[in-house]
Amino acid sequence: MWDYTEKVMEHFLAPKNAGEIESPDAVGEVGSIACGDALKLTLKLDENERILDAKFKTFGCASAIASSSVLTELIKGKTLDEAAQVTNREIAEALGGLPEEKMHCSVMGQEALEAAIKSYREKGHPDAAPNAQLHTEGRIVCKCFGVTDATIKNAIRENNLHTVEDVIHFTKAGGSCGQCQGEIAEILREVLGESAIKIGAPETDVQKPKKPLSNLQRMQLIEQVVAEVIRPHLVADGGDIELVDIDRTEVTISLHGACGSCPISDFTLKDFVERVLREKVDPQITVVEQKDEQ
């Protein structure tokens, strides 16, 4: 049994703005019956693109219906530009929170809104599809649920997702046959790789030198960056790093604790240690991991 908030139950049992607007100005349709949830959002706008009325029809569970209902309340009275700022987080928060596994319901609400805005903006163009489907943007990653890389990246950034499981809960991608989970991990690496650097690096005083380095300088700098930038980061996640050897630009390290045994430690190694060292010390640096003998 799901632990739904009172607010979710309220919107599920007495949904606001259920139905469909006749001759709407904007229509957003997402999901499908095969996926197990779908939402059709219809909007009526005034001449200033302000949302006069919003109605929804939803096929799905209690939280999908509640998310749709609260979405219409959130956007009524807003201009399209203002409405475009509404995130899935706000939808979930307006419901007093959703179970993690149900966060995709709030994402569906946000996507329907985006699709509706897109359909309205493209209406003037002769080649525009009558009902713009959001999922046509980007490359399909999850074939079971038709989720694109764009949707996944968006969800990772907006909700600060860190694991494949998070992505499944928020977008459903990877939650059926599971074949695309490797690809989702890649996307996570791609997106988080950037932010990982941002978290670790700029907050420190270690500055990248301008002149070419001597061997000794490079070694000292590598030691400093590992000790002051990289190690605190790994320790915070329950792991540790030991600098084993430095042979010109080849750095040998050993990972311990959570890092050493973690299946994604390749990611930690390649995308984090190496990128930080390249950025802070020398772009030529390659990192090699010495595995603990067990």
Binding site: F12, I33, L39
Partner: protein, 383 residues
């Protein structure tokens, strides 16, 4: 909660009052350990023996063919491990696509370790093709494993015929009978199965107890290693109170009186819902089912939402929808049967017991049509 209408008896059942009464002394004055040398503990062993003979008698088995377990999952796991470990040169098994996770997940685990598993299809009504079963038997087949009756649809497999096929080919046969015991006649003196599993909480005994039948002479490798309990076949101090409850629960079944009554109520519910609610369908073979189960799909609405509205009225049932299962896919059973997505997400399983009354069924018949039409009004797929 007052006024609960409990139609979810394939999930778990109410413990019978007589069972609770039989169990109580083992929480209070009879707290001894049956393994003890003193009379105080030893007397408890008498009740253990009695429960074992009650289970054996119910199944048409011998008492020493019964091993008490903690749950259906343990029984299934023990049987499958036994078949593989006792025949290390045989690395193949045959099962079906509609098994309970207690069986399915274990075979998937074995597949990761070099074993091969044939997953038999079922037809649109959930039935097995016995020719396909025969054709998939190989010289290295260690085991055939099927359920007796399906938990979601109630569809019953032809276990007698499967047992004969297995025996003729010298292959071990394991039956997950968790849903069948207490709902259909079982006589292991006539059925040449090697392992059969049951679970207490499905038959008005408490949760946390089950039994595994191992035919005399069938290979056995214990899962739990430790003391001498259950003749070393299942170590660990016996869960006496629950074991006594399980034995007692089995003495309370009166299939000849109860089964027709339960079937009549089930049919009344099923016929009324299918007639009153347009775009609804029955899942599973109508004439090859447990008497207590019906699985009905409502087109264009989602099962969890249906359950939540039913729950508001105190009506308890289950759904094969993706959301209700906690996964993102609808029930593997309905998918194996080829139930279209438009129906699979909106499936509701009603499972009755001998405690179900006609008044309750009437209330459910009254409650369901407005619930479905209310959700259909919200559905973008429904006109």
């Amino acid at each position: 909660m007052a006024d609960v209408i409990y139609l979810d008896n394939n999930a778990t059942t109410r413990v019978a009052d007589e069972v609770v009464d039989a169990m109580m002394p083992f929480f209070t004055e009879l707290y001894g350990n049956p393994s003890s040398m003193h009379t105080f503990g030893g007397q408890v062993g008498h009740y253990l023996k009695l429960a074992r003979s009650q289970v054996a008698e119910f199944l048409g088995a011998q008492p020493d063919e019964i091993i008490f377990t903690a749950c259906g999952t343990e029984g299934d796991n023990t049987a499958i491990h036994s078949a593989f470990k006792s025949q290390p040169y045989k690395k193949h098994a045959i099962t079906t696509k509609v098994e309970h996770p207690a069986v399915m997940s274990l075979f998937k685990e074995y597949e990761k370790h070099g074993y091969q598993v044939t997953w038999l299809d079922v037809d649109g009504e959930g039935r097995l093709d016995l020719n396909a079963l025969k054709a998939s038997i190989r010289p290295d087949t260690a085991l055939i494993s099927t359920m007796w009756a399906n938990n979601e649809t109630g569809v019953v497999f032809p276990v007698e015929e499967i047992a004969d096929i297995a025996k003729a080919h010298g292959v071990l046969y394991h039956i997950d009978a968790v849903q069948a015991v207490g709902k259909t006649e079982i006589d292991l003196s006539k059925l040449p199965a090697d392992y059969l599993v049951l679970s207490g909480h499905k038959l008005h005994a408490p949760k946390g107890v089950g039994a595994l039948y191992v035919r005399k002479g069938a290979p056995f490798v214990p899962l739990l290693i430790g003391g001498h309990q259950e003749k070393g076949r299942r170590s660990g101090t016996e869960n006496i109170a629950s074991i006594v409850g399980l034995g007692k629960a089995l003495t309370l079944f009166h299939p000849k009186e109860d089964a027709p009554k339960i079937a009549a109520l089930r049919d009344k519910l099923e016929n009324a819902l299918l007639a009153q609610i347009p775009n609804s369908r029955l899942n599973g073979a109508k004439d090859e089912r447990l008497d207590n189960t019906t699985n009905i799909s409502f087109k264009h609405v989602e099962g969890e939402a249906i359950l939540m509205l039913m729950s508001q009225l105190g009506i308890c049932a289950s759904s094969g929808s993706a959301c209700a299962s906690g996964s993102l896919d609808p029930s593997h059973v309905l998918r194996a049967m080829g139930v279209p997505f438009t129906f699979a997400h909106g499936s509701i399983r009603f499972s009755l017991s001998r405690y179900t009354t006609e008044a309750e069924i009437n209330r459910v018949i009254e409650a369901m049509p407005p619930i479905i039409s209310r959700l259909r009004q919200l559905s973008p797929f429904h006109d």
